[in-house]
Symmetry: D2
Amino acid sequence: MGAKETVEVTGHLMDTGILSRILDDIRDYGGDYVLDQFEVGHEAHDPSSARITVEADDDESLQRLLMRLQTRGVNPMSLAEASTRPAERDGVLPDGFYATTNLDTRVHIDGAWHDVENPEMDCGLVVDSSTPGLRVRTVPMTDVRTGMRVVVGTAGIRVAVPSRDEVADSFATVGAELAGERPQAVLVRQVADGMRQTRADGKRLLWVVGPGVVNTGAVPALVALVRAGFVDVLFAGNGLATRDIEQALYGTSIGVEVSTQGGDHGHEHRVRALNTIRKAGSIAAAVDEGTVTSGIMHALVTGRKPFVLVGSVRDDAPLPDVHTDVVAGQRAMRAEIRDVGYCLMMAAQLHAVATANILPASVPLVCVDLDPATVTRIVDHGTSRGRGIVTDVGLFLEQLALELVAGYPRG
Amino acid sequence: MGAKETVEVTGHLMDTGILSRILDDIRDYGGDYVLDQFEVGHEAHDPSSARITVEADDDESLQRLLMRLQTRGVNPMSLAEASTRPAERDGVLPDGFYATTNLDTRVHIDGAWHDVENPEMDCGLVVDSSTPGLRVRTVPMTDVRTGMRVVVGTAGIRVAVPSRDEVADSFATVGAELAGERPQAVLVRQVADGMRQTRADGKRLLWVVGPGVVNTGAVPALVALVRAGFVDVLFAGNGLATRDIEQALYGTSIGVEVSTQGGDHGHEHRVRALNTIRKAGSIAAAVDEGTVTSGIMHALVTGRKPFVLVGSVRDDAPLPDVHTDVVAGQRAMRAEIRDVGYCLMMAAQLHAVATANILPASVPLVCVDLDPATVTRIVDHGTSRGRGIVTDVGLFLEQLALELVAGYPRG
Amino acid sequence: MGAKETVEVTGHLMDTGILSRILDDIRDYGGDYVLDQFEVGHEAHDPSSARITVEADDDESLQRLLMRLQTRGVNPMSLAEASTRPAERDGVLPDGFYATTNLDTRVHIDGAWHDVENPEMDCGLVVDSSTPGLRVRTVPMTDVRTGMRVVVGTAGIRVAVPSRDEVADSFATVGAELAGERPQAVLVRQVADGMRQTRADGKRLLWVVGPGVVNTGAVPALVALVRAGFVDVLFAGNGLATRDIEQALYGTSIGVEVSTQGGDHGHEHRVRALNTIRKAGSIAAAVDEGTVTSGIMHALVTGRKPFVLVGSVRDDAPLPDVHTDVVAGQRAMRAEIRDVGYCLMMAAQLHAVATANILPASVPLVCVDLDPATVTRIVDHGTSRGRGIVTDVGLFLEQLALELVAGYPRG
Amino acid sequence: MGAKETVEVTGHLMDTGILSRILDDIRDYGGDYVLDQFEVGHEAHDPSSARITVEADDDESLQRLLMRLQTRGVNPMSLAEASTRPAERDGVLPDGFYATTNLDTRVHIDGAWHDVENPEMDCGLVVDSSTPGLRVRTVPMTDVRTGMRVVVGTAGIRVAVPSRDEVADSFATVGAELAGERPQAVLVRQVADGMRQTRADGKRLLWVVGPGVVNTGAVPALVALVRAGFVDVLFAGNGLATRDIEQALYGTSIGVEVSTQGGDHGHEHRVRALNTIRKAGSIAAAVDEGTVTSGIMHALVTGRKPFVLVGSVRDDAPLPDVHTDVVAGQRAMRAEIRDVGYCLMMAAQLHAVATANILPASVPLVCVDLDPATVTRIVDHGTSRGRGIVTDVGLFLEQLALELVAGYPRG
């Protein structure tokens, strides 16, 4: 093997299983290692630290292995400066670009360490000295412009993995785990606590909501949560907004709905609901002119809460508010994640993955779905502090509203 | 085709789709038909009636097709008497035996019509004249004894399918359907209404409960329902009873449970819990001696509610109360279904199917499970009046207790 | 009730259950009916016909109910002409617009019947007299332009439901059904027969493919099918194309793949693969310059087979060939469905629904997926002639290639 | 904390993640620890070793924690002798009994180390000096008899965890993992290799088979494997045997089956098939008298391969060969696992768990099922060397027969 580098990592290396995952990575990337030094915590709560010399066949392989290890909080010992290279073409990163994680990241450049402003995974790192004071931020591939100064290789980059204690702030139990057959009442209370805490910290609550929320009868609960100030911003697709508005427009009583939901009746209602809002020009216009008088979208519009709707190829026709260009939609979502301190994903497959793609790892997220596969996909995604709850979204939101909204369901 | 028979059927033949299913059956069994007469209801609520001449290759095929059609409420026109043949061997029905449905059934024998006492599917019909007044009852294959007088063929048998209105008594919507993405709160209320009505009618409430009820934290809700008189008899396996007792014995707080449930800790606790009860001699003995002081089994024992536990090959060791012989277990279950007017199945796969096997079609049943496949299996099973609810059992029981038990969870 | 209309329907009304579904629809829409006449087929293969007077509260409700009934092949008796109204705004249909089905449809206009050129569901019907000879075609809401002449109401429209026999041409068994636990070898042979027949008929084979096809090791099978001429056009998302190209670029041997697929290694590979193709400018350019030398996309490019890739909000970055605007993507898909005679959907959730949205009901489609919920969603979708097969896509494609490609896997 | 003990563990502690799981266990059991010594392997393939002093509140807690740790291969340093206590009652183990793992276990007793003859989890350890030469064996709770000499506590017991290399013999990749979206062809070949190797080693191949194998059309493949000598013993329930015999008796062609499998037709066939075999007296008798002439059970009987059928409460009536007492059934299964070197579980939920309960951890097992939850349950079960493959059982067996049986499907 030709290329080697010494790296270090500190933390609860053994009781979080992180060290085994590091060694697995080295093997998976075809590398080898020598454990130079290993200071082990003698008692249960002491941190450990390791110094490892990592080898790979050549420098390119080594660089890629080192990028991989940074997702585990492993940083090179060397104090070298980061290297950069200009982007040669719009939408294309230079060869050897540093592929970001969504962890807190610092870059050593021009003699000083700089925090990356908006950690997001699978982006490039762009150094911006156009304003006074150098800034480093993530830029998605689609937004790269010719001439941008992009970090290449792993030199001069340090990544911090959230410690166990930080994570424990938001959840009684540790890390990412599936809830499956867990006591649900306890989980609802923990989520409610996390939401109250987020609000107390002055952070925003982001919801990602799928159309199942309407079908399971959870609209009143979610409307109550919007009104009580527990929804600061909402991401969804055309489906959620359309079903919600269809329910608002065709005010069918629950009884009738129950008996027809499976039928194609709603199908035709949906098409007419879409046409009605397209005619009004926007959801807000339809609310203002008195066409839409209830539902989730109505609550958001009247409560002046922002929402981002992004379409999919599955939509038969988009509402006027829907971003039909998915890259534009992602940009709109990015513009709304500042100050988000907690994220709830409710029966939202596509948009849940999309949101997990752009959120920093430091934002706790809760994914609720009846389908274990959906929940696993989010919770195993990247390095997020995700928690999965396999349960019924309708009953979950009902309980959450009872917990958080005084007087619900009467109020 | 050699053998034919004219049959008749009356009811809402078209709006319930029953006529198409009848014609499908005839085709599936390789038979043919002529629709002799068809009186169609002119308005939406009028019943229709049809007279159909059914043909098959030979008499044996015809008899089997006619048995099949009886599960749809189709009866032969002829007023012939039922034929019988004696069983020649213990545990074996005579050739050509009439295989029962679980529908209300009458048999024309010795010049009079007799109601079958205990409709159960896949049994033989035994005519019993040992007591004054002839009786006809279903007998499972395992309980056939040499010399029993068993009905063969379809002559002289009439079966009644429950009408739409009867079914509508217990549910707002019609027949067997999956709830999946339905408003859960409405469903909980409908189930609660059915339970109250059953109690008001002087009928018994049967529960079939799987071990998931313990894991989802629903023990307090179910205990409250037992104490409030909403559980008259409970069927379960070794797993439910053992996990419930394990929780009672090792009184771990919810917090600890959440963090360990996935581990093998409970595994070892379970083995010790089993040994403890085996030592006491029975669950009731363990309650009496003060070893078990809480939980579902404790509530049943102290409330003098009967339960039937039947083991499976998966059990590592059975509690002393568990029937390890499954045929004996089925007999014990049959002995407890008299006067059952409503059946709730909670996360109980194996025992739910076993109960559906022996219940008459006239008993409404509700099957709640997070896994759609389990729910479908029960709801599509036989000709039952089943309703499936795909949801979280823990949250469902919590809501049901809130609906039915005054003061819950405080009381 | 104020508004009524007499309608008629002919076919195997009872043995296909269609009549019960018609009566269910009337009830679901709050209407009522009188069955004026019912000519019943006396023998199993005779068609029946019914004349029904349908009532609704007002004319608008009646029109909507009649549109609904047309999805069942129920047509009004009256020989009135179709009414039209001009679109007043781009992207918005006029009030009372006729919402299309994907069934064969004829419109009576200007004194003659005209076939609708491209049946597609949830569209408007536009009458085009700009060219010599009047044409009627479906137009999706997004493509409506001010001044277009749009059909409103149900007068003058007749819809034909495919007969049972037509459907039986493509499948041994009838209609839409789930395969779940069915003999898979038989199903593979039936699909192969349908594909050969389609080719013999001079029609095109459309594939909709999800990324799971790469993971399950089915790339060689699908490449063989492309080369043997069994793939005429392919619809997919960014995921399938990216994973396929990633595999082509990072030519990791199967062994290594197996051990790493679950890891984030492929994650980083994917980002670099994306950047590489973006740098080349297009997939075809990357094939031409020798960067991509194997895989599904390579086979399509070298075989000059068209493909349509449409992105989603979940994509981290799109390949240059991907439509990021979903409405533009839908248009590109529509442009490729002419002459499609058979459609195969392989582990493709999002794009499978999108394709089912635009395909005429007359195109048989087969949906293969390991997840029963995905399969059900497609097979229950609209009025398509869909068939679901719940099985492993990798093994299914392997068997299909063995059946269709001489010499596979050696050739 | 009052009680402490020093333990040691050796192996690839970090790269297998075993050390983190050990420390998790200590926490979960409410204990504490000091890491006295930690010799770390400096290069990738060196083993590490650790000496840990474990503390718990009292001696009973400590003993239970130590038993738990033994499932990880952690053994006490002390060379004490094992303690024993006599069983005081049939079917009940003495207090403080050592609860076994299914790992290779040695007991230090009467001054020497003795191998446990038949490692099985959740049993007691019984010391038998009735024959010349002391023997130690596992005894399930149900088979405990008064006076048996049972090991209590953890002193004098050493457990060995299979090393990574041993496991690698049977599978290219390491340990227990789910296959889900993996290249299936590779997996089939690996399983075939494991089966050939087992046969070459003179060990037996155990199959556990569920009724889905019949439905998916895999009977011919499994029959070919029986005839070619790749099935030495088969465990199943009443369902598999009954469906297999039903298919043999009612020899319906595949076409007809496909169209009716979903119906209740098979339901009635099943009841008649059951009665036919009950009349014959046994499956072998029905084969001998020429009633059953094909299928899996026929192949086993004519090939003189043993099978164990154990019933469940779900069976409507058992075949005469079925153990209706589940404890007797478990004993019959135990009697057949000697010399088993490889175990295949095909779509068998209940009996798969039951078999995993009694197999030693040293037997590699492969669990194939379409439902990921079933596969996970087996693979996460105890400490087995299990491998899960989420795929279609029908296609899997077809491919396996092609791989192993020369001339299949022609031969």
